[in-house]
């Protein structure tokens, strides 16, 4: 499972303050903590700054990569912010995200083909959000075809099935899970990715819901996830599930995590 650490997002109050003050030490620590907790990518998102997003995102890229030797997930729907941030990035970033929406697709395409990178393909249709499994798979397949045609290798594409709240429609959990399963089956080598918090919007005990949704995603073959790696209960669930599904040789990751105090039992 590829883990993208989600904490460096300016929609979090403490992060927004730190970014606003250009508090590099604070940002570096949050990045370092996530790396030590097992993140493979560090997500950076400065979306709340709107007009200044470009500058702040670039600053985040330099600050985080000055601290940890990891690739970043450049998280923005804004082509301008992405095209500047990708230039500052060392190594291959993950771009989050492209979708079938016409403007978004065409403005992001030159950016993601300008240099090697991984790309999140969000199952958002041209004119509407998919609701069923079939609609998600259709949008996802279309994106995969378009992106591979542009020369992006299958294994660098991460299809996001579009997770919507079960509070609004109780079939939304199954819709996302079914799409993950089908896309992984239909396109061997491709990745699937999602965040966990959308699923629990409008409900109490959101962390409990998110954690159990993660367990289901793992069972349905999700290959990458955007989460808070400092959430010990969540990471314990992830490591346990990976082990139980035969994806952890000699139970090594689980035992390592236990021995370094990162597993919580109950």
């Amino acid at each position: 499972m590829i883990i993208i650490g989600e904490k460096l997002n300016t929609s979090r109050k403490s992060i927004e303050e730190a970014v606003n003050k250009r508090d590099a030490a604070f940002i570096a620590k949050v990045a370092r903590d996530q790396a030590e907790a097992g993140a493979h990518y560090i997500d950076v998102n400065a979306g709340t700054f709107m007009d200044e997003e470009v500058d702040y995102l670039c600053w985040l890229v330099e600050t985080v990569q000055g601290e940890v030797d990891l690739p970043l997930c450049l998280d923005s729907p804004n082509p301008k912010a992405l095209s500047e941030a990708i230039k500052k990035h060392k190594g291959e970033p993950m771009i989050n995200s492209i979708s079938l929406e016409e403007d978004r697709f065409h403005s992001l395409l030159p950016i993601i083909t300008s240099q090697p990178c991984h790309v999140v393909a969000l199952c958002m249709g041209q004119t509407s959000m998919p609701t069923t499994i079939e609609e998600r798979v259709e949008v996802g397949s279309e994106l995969i075809k378009k992106l591979t045609k542009e020369g992006i290798p299958l294994e660098k594409i991460y299809v996001d099935p579009l997770v919507l709240p079960v509070s609004v429609d109780t079939s939304m959990g199954v819709a996302a899970l079914g799409a993950i399963h089908k896309i992984m089956n239909d396109f061997p080598g491709v990745n699937t990715i999602c965040g966990l918090s959308n699923i629990s919007f409008g409900l109490p005990e959101r962390r409990l819901i998110n954690r159990n949704f993660l367990a289901l995603c793992i069972a349905y073959n999700l290959s990458a996830v955007i989460l808070d790696p400092l959430d010990k209960q969540l990471m314990s669930t992830l490591l346990t599930l990976e082990m139980l599904l035969g994806r952890d040789e000699y139970c090594g990751n689980f035992i390592d995590a236990y021995q370094s105090g990162r597993i919580v039992g109950n």
């Binding site: 929609s11 979306g47 709340t48 709107m50 997003e53 923005s76 729907p77 804004n78 929406e101 403007d103 958002m124 249709g125 004119t127 509407s128 959000m129 919507l164 709240p165 509070s167 609004v168 109780t170 919007f201 409008g202 409900l203 109490p204």
Partner: protein, 212 residues
């Protein structure tokens, strides 16, 4: 909540069967459709919105109450005469250009409908000129705009500009909302109001109309 207490409680609980039966009972007992609507259904939905805003109930409960109200309305609707004032005000709602997200917008529209406003939902990805055209056509009291992306928030500002150019800005109140939207942003783009959730959208709408 007086004489319609049982009805109101059934709507708050989202108990369709009891609520419909209570509505019928009230009608059979000679109550007017208008007072059943105002003192029973709308009063109940006000309570639901208030509880939601306070975090005491959750989205599915709100949806269930709204559904219950709709079922009761099926009994009342045919009884309203042409010209009966059943609306608290006319509201135009839509997700702005470039944005396809509709969950928040739908919840707001639903709760405003529950509060007795007359809702016209334009849908998603609505360009400024479409808002303007619909304002001219329907003459709403309030225009609600939703955006979920920081990149589509500027569409709100552009829509307000388009309303100014067309000379209709002063004829309506503008309310905005959506995950990245803030009170501060509402002030910056000269919207009249910002609502953080579906429950508070209703109370803000009432405030706005008080100020009309």
């Amino acid at each position: 909540m007086n004489e319609f207490e049982a009805l109101a409680q059934a709507v708050i609980k989202g108990d369709i069967k009891t609520a419909v039966a209570e509505t019928q009972r009230a009608l059979d007992g000679g109550s007017e459709a208008k007072s059943i609507l105002d003192k029973g259904l709308i009063a109940a939905m006000d309570e639901v919105g208030d509880r939601y805003s306070k975090g005491l109930i959750f989205v599915p409960q709100m949806l269930r109450s709204a559904k219950t109200m709709q079922e009761c309305m099926k009994l009342l609707q045919p009884l309203f005469q042409e010209g009966d004032v059943t609306s608290k005000g006319k509201v135009l709602i839509g997700t702005v250009k470039g944005d396809l997200h509709d969950i928040g917008k739908n919840l707001v529209g639903m709760m405003m409908g529950g509060a007795g406003f007359d809702i016209t939902d334009l849908g998603v990805d609505i360009p400024p000129e479409k808002f303007v055209q619909k304002i001219q056509e329907l003459e709403p009291d309030i225009v609600c705009m939703s955006a979920l992306l920081s990149t589509t928030m500027p569409s709100m500002s552009r829509t307000i500009e388009a309303m100014q150019k067309a000379g209709v800005r002063d004829k309506v109140k503008v309310m905005i909302g959506g995950a990245p939207v803030t009170e501060k942003y509402a002030r910056e783009i000269k919207a009249d109001s910002y609502a953080s959730d579906a429950g508070s959208a209703v109370s803000k709408a009432k405030e706005l109309l008080g100020a009309l």
